[in-house]
């Protein structure tokens, strides 16, 4: 774990700015661990991929401009929309939100950097790597063409034989690991590095929304990871998890994917809500209306988002009872969302509104997001979903949410925070052009798609017959798309021009109230010379009026290492939960032929190795006790025993695998074999990683380094090791004991 700058002290105890930290030279950006530079890297990368995904969209719209067009082939078209969706979600919106979170969260809470700056740099570099992996597929026989939700069995080898889908899987794994790492980092930052007096109830709403989003990320992404790992096993090892022809289950993919996919929608939307909640109050000159309600409704949305995935599957025929429950759950999301909208309007109401470009984007966001939300209600009403799902109506719906909502919030955020990032204001006159072109283009493009859906045009068709109105409406949509392209170009021009010629911003050009506006624009390496004691939700407002309030109270600071490991464990739990569910599912419903747990697994032998693993948790605990007593020899001794016991477990698992292979059982033998090997294999992998970590700790302890360093490393690795053992407790009970009881 890397070291982070400590939180900044109270007012009156200024800490010396680290002038020596100024970074120059060509590698300064590549080697940087500064949260602001990493944030900028995220934003620039997102802009780059936005142009890639945008050009893909324009080609798509050109092809659809007229019926029976032949601009691109069916195959190319299918790759285009798959890449467009995947790019926009995973390479544009998520990175752009990560970029703003990276840049702003430490500044907004009065910290010097993220909790783990080096982990932060790694998360960023996984992004270009993942993007490159995804696009490398083009050189291997074609980009993925399964759509962004890659429904099996279309994405299984029999129907997608080129490696496109494999690159899609690998890229998503890489990007997912990066997102989870960022989320863990953000959670640790928010929980442990807040300035004195800034309670969780006082953090800016953007920080709050980012915090809630990060929790969604660590819980949702592992579900996707587990699902795509299973798909990868299917594709690479000829298994049949999602192939009905081999006893697998097609719908399982859909359940898994949407368990991730619906929270993902809110991963894209919640930070945008946070941005809007910053922009609207500042330009209305009023505090956010019903702050607690805005914040709590985000949590309500986050919780509900995990319980409503099946509304993506109303057309599947899950049964009346299931449909009804998911109708109710999905509709309920409208309530907290509505609460937010009304609170934003109430914030504007009675204010003194300055219509800067940022505020214009925020106002347009309100209306467009409501349109997307209301068409979302029509999808929650299952019978309407039976008509409109998988048509252009749904395309219109989610673009109103993700573009009219999130992207408009992002554009507002660019205009709002650009002066802080660059030190110069973006041109307002170019900005107004940018805004009006974007509003016009966006609504032209997507509003007519509602009608296309109602007219019966399915989504994801590379061309369409010349039915009444279809051609005309599609043409309007295409014209709108090009206006959006033009508007995007204007933004780039504005950024390029303003970077050199823009009006110098000063510290606080908008007269805003959150901490990032306290420091210079752009902020120095260490962000702040000093941070005043925080007494309310608008520190600069309180500072200007010398408003005193409830003080810091007796806040105890959490250990960031512990926070990180616990959030990581939460994330891993989700991953193993899905693998265990897959195992249990096929164990109960799967084919009855071939090897089964009861017939091939030796519970006594594995029980012995299991005992070793559990004993290792105990010896590790003894080591931690020894550390507590400052008994350094004891630490090393018990660590050695732990490593030995862990090694014995791995050897045991290896011999078990060998025995199974010799009996002719491979990963693809049947679904029991596939899910058994995947589950125990991934557990074994975690044990291996844990062993390496223990060895590093052991080396440090032996080398004497440990006497000077805090024991947090031992505690962190210890937590992880105990977690791995607890997972095995479940695996052993469910796989081995259950079969023999």
């Amino acid at each position: 774990m890397s070291t982070a700058a400590p939180p900044i002290g109270h007012a009156g105890s200024p800490s010396a700015p680290h002038a020596a930290h100024a970074e120059h030279g060509p590698f300064a950006w590549i080697a940087t661990v500064d949260h602001k530079r990493i944030g900028i890297l995220y934003l620039v990368t997102a802009l780059f991929f936005f142009s890639v995904g945008g050009i893909e969209a324009l080609v798509i719209r050109l092809q659809l401009a007229r019926p029976n067009a032949t601009l691109v082939t069916a195959e190319a078209y299918n790759q285009l929309f798959t890449m467009h969706g995947t790019t926009m979600i995973f390479l544009v919106v998520m990175p752009a939100l990560s970029g703003f979170a990276n840049y702003l969260v430490p500044l907004m809470i009065g910290a010097r950097d993220m909790a783990f700056p080096r982990l932060n740099a790694m998360s960023y570099w996984l992004l270009p790597f993942g993007g490159a992996l995804l696009h490398f597929s083009v050189m291997t026989g074609g980009a993925p063409a399964g759509g962004w939700f890659s429904y099996a069995p279309l994405t299984e080898t029999p129907f997608s034989s080129t490696p496109g889908t494999d690159y899609w899987i690998l890229a998503l794994l890489v990007l997912g690991i990066g997102s989870v790492a960022t989320a863990i980092n953000l959670i640790a930052t928010v929980l442990t590095l807040r300035a004195p007096g800034m309670t969780m109830g006082r953090v800016p709403l953007f920080v709050w929304m980012t915090f809630v989003t990060s929790i969604l990320v660590i819980l949702a992404i592992p579900v996707l990871n587990a699902a795509i790992v299973l798909l990868f096993v299917d594709r690479q090892l000829d298994a049949h998890v999602f192939l009905a022809s081999g006893g697998g289950n097609t719908l399982l993919w859909q359940h898994f994917f949407w368990t991730f996919g619906h929270p993902e929608v809110y991963i894209l939307a919640l930070p945008a809500f946070g941005m809007i909640s910053e922009i609207i109050p500042v330009f209305s000159r009023k505090p956010i209306f019903g702050r607690a309600f805005v914040a709590a409704s985000a949590v309500a949305i986050a919780i509900l988002s995990f319980g409503v995935w099946a509304h993506h599957m109303f057309a599947v025929g899950l049964g009346r009872a299931a449909d009804l429950f998911f109708v109710m759950g999905s509709m309920l999301i409208a309530v907290p969302t509505g609460v937010k909208i009304f609170n934003w309007i109430a914030t504007m109401w009675g204010g003194s509104i300055r219509f800067t470009t940022a505020m214009l984007f925020a106002a347009a966001f309100l209306i467009e997001f409501v349109v997307g939300g209301l068409s979302g209600i029509t999808f929650a009403v299952a019978p309407i979903d039976w008509q409109m799902t998988d048509t252009y109506y749904v395309v219109a719906h989610f673009h109103y949410v993700i573009f009219g909502g999130t992207a408009f919030a992002l554009l507002g955020a660019v205009y709002y925070w650009f002066p802080k990032i660059s030190g110069r204001l973006l041109s307002e006159s170019l900005g107004k052009w940018n805004f009006w072109l974007m509003v016009l283009g966006f609504n032209l493009t997507f509003f007519v798609q509602h009608f296309l859906g109602v007219l019966g045009m399915p989504r994801r068709v590379y061309t369409y017959p010349d039915l009444p109105y279809w051609g005309a409406l599609n043409m309007i949509s295409t014209v709108g798309a090009f206006l959006m392209g033009l508007a995007s170009l204007l933004l780039v021009v504005n950024v390029a021009w303003s970077l050199r010629r823009g009006k110098v911003a000063g510290d606080n050009p908008w007269d805003a109230w959150t901490l990032e506006w306290l420091t210079t624009s752009p902020p120095p390496h260490d962000n702040f010379a000093e941070v005043p004691a925080i007494t309310g939700t608008r520190p600069l407002y309180d500072l200007a009026r010398a408003r005193a309030g409830a003080g810091a109270g007796a806040e105890r600071v959490l250990d960031k290492g512990a926070v990180a490991v616990w959030t990581f464990i939460a994330s891993e739990t989700g991953f193993f939960l899905i693998l265990i569910l897959a195992y249990v599912f096929f164990d109960v419903t799967g084919t009855k032929s071939g090897p089964r747990a009861a017939s091939v697994l030796d519970v006594t032998k594995t029980g012995a190795f299991t005992a070793c693993l559990f004993a290792s948790s105990f010896t590790l605990w003894l080591s931690e006790r020894a550390e507590h007593r400052k008994d350094h020899a004891g630490v090393a001794r018990w660590l050695a025993v732990t490593i030995l016991l862990g090694g014995v477990f791995l050897v045991g698992q290896g011999s078990e695998y060998l025995g199974l292979f010799q009996r002719g059982m491979g990963v693809a033998t049947n679904l029991f074999a596939t899910t058994f090997f995947t589950l125990t294999g991934f557990h074994g992998l975690h044990v291996t990683v844990g062993l390496f970590a223990l060895m590093i700790v052991f080396g440090l302890a032996r080398g004497g380094d440990f006497r000077r360093r805090p024991s947090s490393l031992l505690r962190a690795v210890g937590l992880y090791w105990h977690f791995v053992d607890v997972v095995w407790l479940f695996v052993f009970s469910i796989v081995y004991l259950r079969a023999h009881v």
Binding site: L191, T199, M200, G201, R202, R291, A292, A295, A296, V299, A300, I303, L304, F306, G307, G319, R320, A321, A322, F325, F326, M328, G329, L332, T535, G536, T537, D542, R547, A548, G549, A550, G551, A552, G553, A554, E555, R556, L558, D559, A562, V563, W566, L577, L581, V584, F585, V588, T589
Partner: protein
């Protein structure tokens, strides 16, 4: 029998419910006699708790839960664990906060143990043998009802317990409820999609009340669909209750955000490392 007929006539005399109502009356009277100032029962949540208890145990829900419908059993189960205890705790808070916890309760009310009891209440009674026994044997059913109420009370204590200082800090509380919700969701999913009977009794009920034709044909509840509805009840509405709990906990976070807010009883994020663990 018609649906209205069932609603009108299928009421039973459940000793647990009667005892519960008696206890409620005693608590009310005792509080009224000794209560000074704020040490009174809060009437609204208290009355709601009693009403829900009656609904769960005496109404047709209680009757159908005894061997007829898995879904009715699940509804009763959820009301007893997730609705009655928090309402009762809210209602009784002023009285309870005036006296210390009994010594024996201290172990039970530790968050880890309480969480285990709350989630255990969900899982334990859906083990096949126990579930069947409770549906068939009146005595076991009484034990089940009592244990659900007790375990539910223990579960909600760290969140709604009478003394504010003894409650979990907000972050801990959110984690406590969210993990419980997850555990319930997993069970709900398993029950909903399980191809086998969770409680075999409900497949072939003994029709004491003569309502089976109505249930099977009128309401269209086949044994499969009945179990599905039960699983979904555990999954969606149960999670909503935990969700409301989470929102209630969060309300405390935002209480003293503004400088002009009164500074009394300042609740800040005092979560410690131990509590996060």
């Amino acid at each position: 029998m018609t649906t209205w007929g069932v609603v009108a006539s299928c009421w039973g005399l459940d000793p647990v419910a009667v005892a519960g109502c008696l206890a409620a009356a005693v608590a009310w009277v005792a509080a009224g006699r000794h209560g000074r100032g704020s040490a009174r029962v809060r009437p609204l949540p208290f009355a709601l708790a009693v009403a829900v208890l009656v609904l769960a145990l005496l109404s047709p829900i209680g009757q159908l839960a005894e061997g007829y419908l898995f879904s009715a059993h699940m509804l009763q189960h959820l009301l007893l664990v997730l609705v009655v205890p928090p309402l009762a705790l809210l209602g009784l808070e002023p009285i309870l906060s005036a006296r210390p916890n009994p010594r024996a309760a201290r172990v039970v009310l530790r968050p880890v143990v309480a969480w285990g009891l709350g989630v255990g209440a969900m899982w334990l009674w859906h083990e096949r043998t126990l579930c069947d026994a409770a549906a068939q044997n009146a005595l076991v059913h009484r034990v089940q009802e009592l244990s659900l109420l007790t375990m539910g009370t223990a579960f909600w204590w760290p969140i709604l317990g009478p003394r504010e200082g003894a409650r979990l800090p907000p972050l801990g509380g959110v984690l406590y409820l969210f993990t419980a919700c997850t555990a319930c969701t997993v069970l709900g999913i398993l029950i909903t999609f399980a191809p086998v009977r969770v409680c075999s009794v409900f497949a072939h009920p003994v029709d004491r009340l003569g309502v089976m034709p109505l249930v099977r044909d009128g309401w269209g509840l086949t044994p499969e669909r009945d179990q599905q509805v039960g699983g979904l009840l555990m999954w969606v509405p149960a999670c909503l209750v935990y969700g409301v709990g989470i929102l209630a906990v969060l309300a405390r976070v935002f209480r003293d955000a503004e400088p002009d807010a009164t500074a009394t009883g300042s609740v800040t994020m005092t979560t410690t490392t131990e509590e996060v663990r």
